[in-house]
């Protein structure tokens, strides 16, 4: 009997070990390397950063860590502004997505049961189609000579074309559009389970519909609201494709700064420091999200 148990334990460890090891090597280890390189100095060589350990004459290597990258980021207003503006753009987009997503999710939850499956499928379908293509689709609509301006001018709403493309507004539209399914799905999962009798009870007791919504519906759906907001906010802060394709030169977002620092300026230590600070900003929301999600599933 003991032998079987011992065998089972080995099996159990192996089953845990395979995915565990994979994630340790390909998810955790890379972060440690980013952390290490963020303390290095940029040099012209391959790879373009200095080693932290300098092997001199003595037996022990000397550690040569540099905080230059971090100091540079904190002193240069470009980077500080990029972080702040990313947080601002992500917050505003998340709130817009919440209002739009709530209206849609609530309506699906109230729709007749036989419609719900197809309505939900219609929400999920764009989420499966390429992000890049969905962002690209907006360029033709929002351009100065684009379809939106053509439509508005032909309807006589405006005389001169609006400048939406290459502005922050285009970035808001892009983020809300791309991340909307991420907002709707957790909200719907929550609202679907809601006991609508409670709303009826509130109404019977003389509560006005608007007040019922604020004091009963919203508090009951809070877990869905939080999950949806995190799913939109966290990736939106580090978004690259949307500000790059829809935003203008004055649209500052940290994901784009990191990309430029890495691919155009080839300053790997600085790009690593940018990533580490971004991660430090997002680590609390990410951990909170993980905790709530795990609780929701189990």
């Amino acid at each position: 009997m003991r032998k079987i148990k011992g065998f089972r334990n080995i099996g159990r460890t192996a089953v845990i070990g395979i995915p565990y090891l994979w994630l340790l090597v390909l998810f955790l280890l890379p972060f440690l390397i980013v952390l290490k390189i963020s303390f290095a100095e940029p040099i012209i060589s391959i790879p373009p950063y200095s080693d932290l350990l300098q092997w001199g004459d003595s037996f022990w290597p000397t550690i040569k860590a540099s905080l230059d990258g971090y100091l540079f980021i904190l002193e240069d207003s470009l980077y500080v502004n990029a972080y702040l503006s990313s947080l601002k753009i992500a917050t505003i987009s998340t709130l817009i997505a919440l209002v739009v997503g709530y209206a849609i999710a609530y309506s699906i939850a109230k729709a007749p049961t036989r419609w719900r499956g197809i309505l939900l499928m219609l929400v999920i379908l764009p989420f499966w189609t390429s992000f890049l293509i969905r962002v690209y689709a907006w360029i033709g609509i929002l351009k100065t000579e684009g379809l939106l301006n053509l439509l508005l001018i032909s309807l006589g709403v405006i005389d001169k074309p609006l400048t939406i493309m290459n502005t922050d507004l285009a970035v808001y539209i892009g983020i809300v559009y791309s991340y909307l399914p991420f907002m709707i799905l957790p909200l719907y999962a929550n609202l679907e389970k809601m006991d609508f009798n409670l709303l009826e009870a509130a109404a019977d007791l003389g509560c006005r519909p608007f007040k019922t919504f604020w004091t009963v519906t919203i508090p009951l759906s809070l877990p869905g609201i939080l999950a949806g907001c995190f799913l939109v906010f966290i990736p939106a802060v580090g978004e690259f494709v949307i500000p790059d394709l829809l935003g203008g030169t004055q649209t500052l977002m940290i994901g784009k700064v990191l990309w430029i620092e890495f691919f155009n300026n080839r300053d790997w230590p600085l790009a690593s420091a940018v990533a580490i600070i971004l991660l430090a900003i997002l680590v609390v929301p990410i951990m909170y999200y993980q905790k709530t999600q795990e609780k929701a599933i189990s």
């Binding site: 955790l28 109230k110 189609t129 994901g255 890495f262």
Partner: protein, 260 residues
Amino acid sequence: MKRFTAFNMTALMLGFAFLYIPIIILIVFSFNESKLVTVWGGFSTKWYGELMNNQSIKDAAWVTVKVAFTSSTIATLLGTIAGLVMAKFGSFRGRTLFSGMIYAPMVMPEVIIGLSLLLMFVALSIDRGVMTVTLAHITFSMCYVAVVVQSRMSSYDDSINEAALDLGCTPFKTFFLITLPIILPAVISGWLLSFTLSLDDLVIASFTSGPGSTTLPMKIYSMVRLGVTPEINAVSTILVGLVALGVVTGSFIGKKQKTN
């Protein structure tokens, strides 16, 4: 109180219009005769013909399919095991870290994941190419599979497994004969999800690919940067069509499994 009101109807119509009009416009203009994306010059399929003659797009498409197929298959294997561990293995040493590594990649900004993987490949002197992109895609896809399988497993009745084990079935055999068939729809949708995630990824692929491993999204991205052309609309339409087909097939399989 639970009435489907005019407000609900309007919200749904506006919401779905917002979600679908851009995609519909994109598809319509892929059949445009004119080179201008916003001016209709008559129906034509010439951009699809142009696409067939564009060798670099075809190469990129082939790389993308290879990467997506390999990465989604391995990610499904690893992710299913991980989902099983998360749902049924209770607590073990390092569980918090494990679930952290499962959930974090799903919300983590892609630029961070891409940069960190690239720096690791460089640090370990691994040449960048199809293999590194595949490794990167497996890593983030397996997390999605794990969550899909985990949520299916949490409503799984353990007594069926116990019955099989009591009757002398080995744990290994129990898994393949009892557990796997039951969770199969979740595993299949996990595979489909991984496949499309890999098909779509631009940012992580840009960091982890090397010469000769340009993926289709990278190719499309560089075309978009040069200017908007109906050719991009044509390749996008093909991709949207394939994905829609996959999703509909997937949900059909799911439904059939349920009714069985």
